[in-house]
């Protein structure tokens, strides 16, 4: 009995020591070592319980009335000499001395404290999280896990937006999603000590610290959506990090309202005005101008730029900018282009500043030579133009003939007069035909087919009729009378040509390649390399559909099972993928549907409608198309 008590006491001491060490340090190997050592010490201390003689001596020591009868009875040296009589005497003495009570008391003394220590250790272990002593002393991490309850719930998140926003901090209780501006400082806090609590933000481990009996983890809101994974022994939790991007500011240039052209020299004041807006607050803005000079054919285009009207906005959501440009001071020359635009910045010091620019207004300085024409490419004269020139020459020739006719010396012979006059008449005839061609079409190089406005047709009709009259007079050698109709025709042609003049840049030639003529006539030989395989289009959507299907399959497992939990976590991670990233719109309908599904699943409600909605967003509703779509129509 005493030996058993020693063994029980040793085991109890060992277990108590192990539990106490473990609850204080959280270090399992150390705790086991200490327990084994304590048990071994207790066994060593009680090793004499295995010796009959030592036990008999212990009894004789505590029961003097035995007067060594028990020791003598168990002594092997006296085993052969009247042993039976000594045994009987010893049994009588033991009965009288109430040795049973003595032994029971010894057993209780040996095992009682040990069992009591074991009980205390068990109570401490249940009530106090593992490693509390190490945490209090700020000791090194030794690993291990708590035996307290789930430390991952309840949680509390404190979100402190970036300083430039001047927004107050806020708290979120039991967050499943933390939505905050990129760069916000987030402190997540849970109950009890943090030893053994594991937290990863994205792919990085976060440092868990213990403070005032609670664990905390601090991190910045990343720029891309992600999941925060928390682990505590068998417990795990996912929290979605939904970054909110600080949108870049926008600005509208309200003056000048349109592009314009000014004459050289460029003088005066150009008023600039703009309205800026931002979702959080504007920091500053200014007007930017760019002056481009020169031409391609004259050695290239040069540019110079500057800024005016810088304004500090003090974090207001809207702001007005005004400035003026002294055109004289800019040294603008004919042909220069002055481009102006407004630029604003927000106060984003985390991943900014965000920049917004307005549309550009361009002020062109016309050269003195181009006030009425911008023609730069030579083009053949229009038909009416050449007719006017021809008629002018005929008029001059007719005037010269009249002059010669009226000068007596040297006298102009009749034959010469008839010859010259008839020749001029033929020219008028030719010119009349040209006018008729313009009017009614036909002939090489004609303008036939053109739609001639009525006013031009009237002028050309007048000219044509006058030309017929002039031709008639010239054919009968009466240049004096022919001059009148000639001048009428000249004035009509002049009016027509001036009214029709187009002040356009020379149009580029419209080249139509004769494909049939040049097809495969090239002399250079191609040498194409191997073609690399292309990427599967829309892999993101296909990937999402695959992940969604897998998650739904896992959700068929019993609620609370590992597979079911994996399904919920997969939906949560899929939602992270669907959240918008910087510069993209993401898939918000899918993110919302998945969030509804996860909330419903965690609450034990029916998630089917949300899952159907999510599937519809991913795969799309089936549609019927009559024909194959074109390459990329709108």
């Amino acid at each position: 009995m005493l030996g058993g008590a020693v063994v029980v006491a040793a085991l109890s001491w060992g277990a108590a020591a192990a539990l106490l060490i473990y609850s204080m340090t959280g270090w399992a190997p150390g705790a086991i070592g200490c327990g084994v050592a304590a048990a071994a010490a207790a066994l060593w201390r009680g090793r004499h319980a295995r010796s009959t003689q030592r036990v008999a001596l212990w009894i004789e020591e505590h029961a003097p009335a035995l007067q060594y009868a028990l020791v003598t009875a168990v002594d092997p040296r006296y085993a052969g000499d009247d042993g039976g009589a000594r045994t009987e005497a010893a049994e009588r003495a033991l009965a009288e001395a109430r040795v049973d009570t003595l032994v029971r008391r010894g057993v209780v003394r040996a095992a009682g404290p040990a069992l009591l220590a074991l009980g205390v250790a068990l109570v401490l272990t249940v009530l106090v999280p593992a490693g509390v002593l190490r945490a209090r002393l700020g000791g090194a991490s030794l690993g291990g896990s708590a035996v307290a309850g789930n430390r991952l719930t309840p949680l509390r998140a404190r979100v402190t937006p970036p300083a430039y926003t001047r927004w107050p901090a806020r708290e979120i209780a039991e967050p499943s999603t933390i939505a905050a501006l990129v760069g916000s400082q987030i402190v997540l806090e849970g109950r009890h000590d943090g030893v053994g609590v594991r937290v990863t933000v994205g792919d990085d481990s976060a440092r868990v610290v213990s403070r005032d009996g609670r664990w905390q983890v601090a991190f910045s809101m990343p720029a891309t959506p992600g999941a925060m994974r928390l682990g505590d022994r068998q417990y795990a939790r996912l929290i979605v990090l939904q970054p909110v991007a600080d949108a870049p500011p926008t600005v509208v240039l309200t003056a000048p309202v349109r592009d314009t052209t000014i004459r050289e020299p460029a003088t005066g004041v150009l008023t600039l005005a703009a309205e800026g807006m931002d979702d959080i607050g504007l920091a500053e803005g200014y007007f930017e101008y760019l002056i481009t000079s020169g031409e391609e054919d004259a050695g290239g285009v040069q540019g110079r730029e500057g800024r005016v009207g810088r304004v500090a906005f003090d974090n207001t959501k809207t702001g007005t900018m005004r400035a003026s440009l002294q055109l004289d001071a800019l040294g603008l020359k004919g042909g220069d282009l002055l481009s102006v635009r407004a630029v604003v910045f927000d106060g984003n010091t985390v991943n900014g500043p965000g920049k917004g620019v307005s549309e550009t207004r361009t002020i062109r300085v016309a050269t003195k030579q181009e006030y009425d024409s911008l023609a730069v490419n030579a083009a053949p004269p229009q038909g009416v133009d050449s007719a006017y020139m021809s008629q002018l020459m005929i008029v001059l020739a007719t005037k010269a003939l009249i002059k010669r006719e009226h000068i007596k010396r040297p006298p102009l012979s009749r034959d010469t007069l008839v010859y010259i006059s008839t020749r001029l008449g033929n020219k008028e005839h030719t010119l009349g035909q040209k006018i008729a061609t313009i009017l009614y079409g036909g002939g090489e190089g004609s303008e036939g087919g053109e739609v001639i406005p009525d006013w031009e047709r009237a002028l050309l009709d007048t000219a044509a009729q006058a030309l017929v009259d002039a031709e008639t007079d010239l054919d009968i050698a009466q240049p004096d009378t022919a001059l009148g109709p000639e001048l009428v025709a000249l004035r009509a042609l002049d009016k027509a040509r001036k009214a029709k003049r187009l002040y356009l840049r020379g149009a580029p030639p419209a080249i139509v390649v004769n494909i049939g003529r040049v097809r495969m006539t090239g002399t250079e030989k191609p040498d194409a390399g191997p073609r690399t395989s292309g990427t599967v289009p829309d892999t993101l959507r296909a990937n999402m559909a695959s992940r969604f299907a897998a998650a739904v399959r896992w959700l068929r497992a019993p609620r609370g099972s590992i597979a079911w939990t994996a399904g919920v976590d997969s939906l949560t991670m899929l939602r992270v993928t669907a959240l918008p990233r910087v510069g993209t719109t993401g898939n918000l309908p899918l993110a919302e549907a998945l969030n509804d599904a996860v909330v419903a699943l965690n609450a034990g409600a029916d998630a089917t409608p949300a899952l159907v909605r999510a599937r519809r967003v991913i795969t799309g509703a089936p549609t019927a198309t009559g024909t194959l779509p074109s390459w990329g129509g709108p």
């Binding site: 290239g300 285009v301 481009s339 635009r341 494909i515 040049v518 250079e524 194409a528 073609r531 990329g632």
Partner: protein, 205 residues
Amino acid sequence: MSEFVFATAKYDSGDWDASPLVPANIIDSVARYTEIDVAPQGVVVPLSSAEMLEYPLLYVTGHLPLRFTDAERRNVQKYLDRGGMMFVDDHNHDIKGVFHKTATEEITRTAGRLVDLPNAHELYTCFFKFPDGPPNTSHELNGWGDNLIHSHLQAVTRAGSNRIEVLYSSKDYSSEWGYHPDSKRFNQVDNTKFGVNIIVYALTR
């Protein structure tokens, strides 16, 4: 399959029509060297119009600042998202000029960051082989322009693949190819071959 139509992009700022002869010249070369069904005449398509989405390749050039309006930028983003390709050529054959500065800024803002296109890129081998990368232009070689040879073209590639969305050139191919196609017979070496590569790449990759 519909025929390929060479489209020149028209934008509100700058001189988008600075190289009117390039389309015909490239169309001529495509017909000379390939069996691609090509339209005999190019078209001009405003970037602000949804019509631009109908063409697989858009040619953008100019000397003056290139700045998109909001509508142009939206269309260009939609166009690139749908797999279109833009070839933007600085007609100034200089460096850090106004077109270069504004165009690269606008491309970065609209499509993404421009990076040097490796000279081993498939663009240089998809039809004719250009083992040294983009062919040089006469402007670069005679020193009349910036007296500097641009060793690389730049590009914005599609996320997740090496496919070019925006091809940007400072080499001034617009001047190099800006002549009547009938004059091609006077060239000892056809300098528009690289234009054929761009078309083939845009249509097949």
